[in-house]
């Protein structure tokens, strides 16, 4: 079945939605969700780069003989990116918890102690 360019379009849409959420939403948690959406879009883009038509997963254990495989390198890149995304999201959410404890609100317009 020919899927064409559909995964690339979906990845671009995810990145655009994430950018919109990050730039125009007011709640701190929604900003973090926006960043996570951008990360997901980029990861999907990386995995789709390695796809070869009618390829099977690049594992040699119990693999059928003489079959084309998809590229394994983008899968390693995506895995690294997911791990980095986990650490980043954990740190951002910890900062959000402390901001709520100090300022009492999660509205990004009210958290403006440092100006100028």
């Amino acid at each position: 079945m020919n899927i064409g360019n559909l995964p690339f379009v979906v990845a671009a849409l995810l990145v655009l939605f994430g950018l919109y959420t990050f730039l125009f939403k007011r709640n701190l948690i929604k900003l973090v969700i926006g960043i996570t959406l951008i990360e997901t879009g980029v990861n999907l883009f990386l995995v789709t780069l390695g796809y070869r038509t009618n390829g099977i997963s690049p594992i040699y254990t119990f693999a059928p003989e003489a079959q084309k495989m998809v590229l394994p390198t983008p899968q390693a890149l995506t895995l690294t990116s997911i791990v980095i995304g986990l650490a980043t999201t954990a740190l951002l959410l910890s900062f959000a918890v402390f901001i709520h404890r100090h300022y009492g609100t999660l509205d990004v317009r009210k958290v403006k102690e440092l100006k100028g």
Binding site: T61, F62, P64, L79
Partner: protein, 158 residues
């Protein structure tokens, strides 16, 4: 946030299920060099079992059972053993796979070429590094989840 946990049904099912999730996580870590998986993936599965316990029983139910210092010590052991394994082959290069294809007893069988039935004892340093990373990830993510929910047991640092 409900600190008392969830209903009786959830708690009973969790008591049965969390051991199986931890076992599955260990399987994913251990067979990382043959099937999809490896250190991070298996560690994340085990940490999700821990998060399930936390959600089902609430922070008050787990207060006496969890020691944060133990989690952090095991995490440091995992990190240091990963670096120590990487330093083992420093004679040739950093991260050199010393044990692969060497014929020794510790994962030293020769790696077959092409599609095969999966030789468990092959791979050299890779399964050992999977274990080190898996230890670090499972304790690390569990510690992050606990600290975010309950609060650190140490006093706030100055």
């Amino acid at each position: 946030m409900k600190n008392e946990g969830m209903t009786v049904i959830v708690r009973t099912v969790t008591r049965f299920v969390y051991g199986m999730i931890i076992l599955f996580g260990f399987y994913v870590i251990m067979h990382g060099h043959l099937t999809p998986g490896g250190g991070f993936q298996g560690g994340a599965v085990v940490a999700s079992a821990f998060a399930l316990l936390l959600v089902a029983f609430g922070s008050s139910g787990l207060k006496g059972h969890v020691n944060l210092h133990w989690l952090q010590s095991i995490e440091e052991v995992g990190a240091l053993s990963f670096l120590a394994l990487a330093f083992l082959g420093i004679g040739t290069a950093f991260f050199y796979n010393l044990l692969a294809n060497s014929g020794g007893f510790l994962f030293g069988a020769s790696v077959p070429a092409g599609p095969n039935a999966g030789v468990f004892a092959a791979g050299g340093l890779v399964p050992l590094m999977n274990w080190a990373v898996g230890l670090k990830v499972m304790t690390g993510i569990s510690a992050v989840v606990i600290i975010m929910l309950i609060g650190s047991s140490k006093e706030e640092t100055e």
